[in-house]
């Protein structure tokens, strides 16, 4: 059995929305191992994205334990979590979320500014990442000058540029046409297969889930 990189034990997330008490995740326990490509599936509101946010330490659980890459995330302070996330987690959003005033190269370079790398090294790493996703000829394009698929590939380059062990993708094909979506999924599969990255993909698209080696279903905040 390979190393466990994500482990949740009775993970629960509750919050108040407009005075209503909502249980987004209820006692979720799961394990994801190194090198796995896992899809989290379920209908809207099932808690998929909430689980992904907790794995990325973008949110804090109400109760339960969560260990990611050997760290108990509840024991880290905000600053430590920020550094941990920069070093170990690459996050891909549904809406790309590129910074509009920065070029593709500058967007990809952004996470590297938090490292000790010098400018030439940062540029080299960012260029390599963009070439890896097939955008070596779009380095100096602004996001508005790219297609949706290209934007998402820039976002993937940004997610992998720090060489994180874990790639978390929140419905990365949700805003793309079928062809572009396919390209993104192939890219994620390639990162998993060729570079040994652990990939967790949130999707409600059965086609996307086919790229995963394991699928977890969530419904009403519970693993089914």
């Amino acid at each position: 059995m390979s190393e466990t990189v994500i482990e949740t034990i009775s993970l629960t997330k509750e919050f108040l929305r407009d005075q209503f008490h909502v249980i987004a995740l209820n006692e979720v326990s799961l394990e994801i191992h190194k090198g796995e490509f896992v899809a989290l599936m379920g209908p809207s509101g099932s808690g998929k994205s909430t689980l992904l946010h907790l794995i990325a330490a973008m949110d804090k659980p109400t109760s339960g334990e969560i260990r990611v890459l050997g760290h108990n995330l509840r024991e880290l302070n905000d600053r430590e979590i920020a550094h941990w996330r920069n070093e170990h987690v690459g996050f891909i959003f549904q809406q790309f979320n590129l910074i509009p005033v920065l070029t593709a190269l500058e967007n990809v370079e952004l996470p590297l500014k938090l490292t000790n790398l010098k400018k030439p090294e940062r540029i080299e790493h960012a260029t390599t990442a963009l070439k890896l996703v097939g955008l070596g000829d779009r380095l100096h394009h602004l996001p508005r000058q790219l297609s949706g698929g290209q934007e998402q590939r820039v976002a993937i380059a940004r997610a992998i540029v720090t060489d994180p062990a874990l790639i978390l993708a929140d419905e990365p094909t949700g805003n793309l046409d079928a062809a572009s979506g396919q390209e993104v999924l192939v890219l994620l599969a390639q990162l998993n297969r060729d570079f040994g990255k652990t990939v967790v993909l949130v999707t409600h698209d059965p086609h996307a889930a086919q790229f995963a080696s394991k699928v977890h279903y969530l419904e009403k905040g519970e693993l089914v």
């Binding site: 990325a56 973008m58 949110d59 996050f91 979320n97 910074i99 005033v101 938090l114």
Partner: protein
């Protein structure tokens, strides 16, 4: 080096909404310009040192008001006070050249002493001699000559009001001065001869030349105590203080300058705070993205504050440059005659404009920046812009 690597991002963010940035820079620039002029005036009026020539001069005037005169006979008694080398009677003529719109200063003085008491006035020897020799002669400052095109030999017709009657003077000299020189000097002796007996023997002010700047306080006290309890008490003061007396006719100039400056600062702070709040509100989602990439709340705070301070400093710099131009204009205007010398470039004004602008940028962005840096990632990403 920490924040320097974020400078390109800060600059690009500053330029993100160009129209808003330009308007913000412009509004801060205009405000800082006003502030710069106020500070330059305040500095020149209340904090600057006298020139070497000014330090050697005192002015004795009527204690009651600038508009009251003194007996001419005071001159000989003033001259006897130890430390006084010489004196010059200086009367405000106050006539009209063409009409009220063509205002400039006219003084009636002892023509033989003018250039001795004011050695900073530079004039060719032959022109000076012609002025001293001829009763109807006048000398004009270079600024005035340039403004009206006066040349040697021209005749200037003045209609007197303090000294009623029509007067005609011949330009016999044009002098240069380090200060604004839209002024004309005529012979007091000629003027006295035109007055009725009852009005003769009066003097507007006495400009005193001292043997040393160190004597100033002692001489001023000696003169004023000599005439205490007389029909016309005197007030002897430095030339700078005397010039400020003109400005103070407008009211409490010091409070006026401070009040305007404070109002300018407060108003622009509100405008800037509103702009920054809008700017940050539009980018809450991006703050969530930056945090997801690993940016700490402290770095986010620095980025937003840095952006605001950058915009404000650009406004401050432009404001300072504008204030230099305006200050230079004030110094060269006819009003500059009655103000202490106001240098166009003053390091203190530059520092004040930039510091004030920086402070406005910092304070106005602090609350939005703190709020943004404290927003949770999930909440920020949920923002729909």
């Amino acid at each position: 080096m920490g924040m320097l690597r974020y400078l390109p991002l800060i600059l690009k963010n500053c330029w993100r909404n160009r129209r808003r940035t330009v308007l913000t820079v412009a509004s801060i620039g205009v405000s800082m310009c006003l502030l710069g002029v106020m500070i330059a005036m305040f500095h020149a009026m209340y904090l600057s040192d006298a020139t070497p020539e000014q330090a050697l001069r005192l002015v004795t005037r009527n204690r009651i008001s600038l508009t009251q005169d003194l007996p001419e006979s005071y001159g000989s008694r003033i001259r006897q006070v130890p430390g006084v080398q010489d004196f010059l009677i200086n009367d405000w003529f106050g006539g009209t050249y063409i009409d009220q719109r063509h205002f400039f200063a006219h003084f009636a003085v002892d023509s033989a002493k003018l250039f001795a008491i004011y050695p900073e006035f530079k004039i060719p020897a032959d022109q000076r001699q012609a002025f001293e020799r001829e009763r109807t002669a006048c000398v004009v400052g270079r600024d005035l000559a340039n403004k009206y095109g006066f040349k040697l030999g021209d005749r200037i017709h003045l209609v007197g009001d303090i000294y009623p009657g029509d007067y005609e003077f011949v330009v016999r000299g044009i002098f240069d001065s380090p200060r604004p020189s839209e002024a004309m000097y005529i012979s007091r002796e000629y003027l006295e001869q035109s007055l009725p007996e009852a009005r003769k023997g009066r003097a507007g002010t006495f400009a005193l030349m001292l043997d040393s700047p160190a004597s100033a306080t002692r001489v001023a006290e000696a003169i004023d105590s000599q005439f205490r309890n007389s029909a016309a008490e005197t007030k002897t003061e430095s030339e700078q203080a005397y010039l400020l007396g003109f400005a103070s006719l407008l009211g409490n100039v010091k409070m006026f300058l401070i009040g305007i400056s404070a109002a300018v600062m407060f108003t622009i702070l509100l405008v800037s705070a509103n702009t920054m709040a809008m700017s940050v509100r539009e980018r809450v989602r991006e703050v969530g993205v930056l945090k997801t990439l690993g940016f700490t709340p402290a770095t986010i705070l620095s980025l937003i504050v840095g952006e605001s301070v950058g915009i404000s400093l650009a406004g401050g710099l432009i404001g300072f440059l504008l204030s230099m131009m305006l200050t230079s204009g004030v110094g060269k205007s006819p009003a500059g005659m009655f103000l202490p010398r106001v240098p166009a470039f003053q390091p203190a004004v530059a520092a004040a404009c930039l510091l004030a602008a920086g402070a406005i940028g910092f304070v106005s962005s602090l609350v939005p920046a703190l709020n943004a840096s404290r927003t949770s990632i999930v909440e920020a990403l949920r923002s729909t812009d």
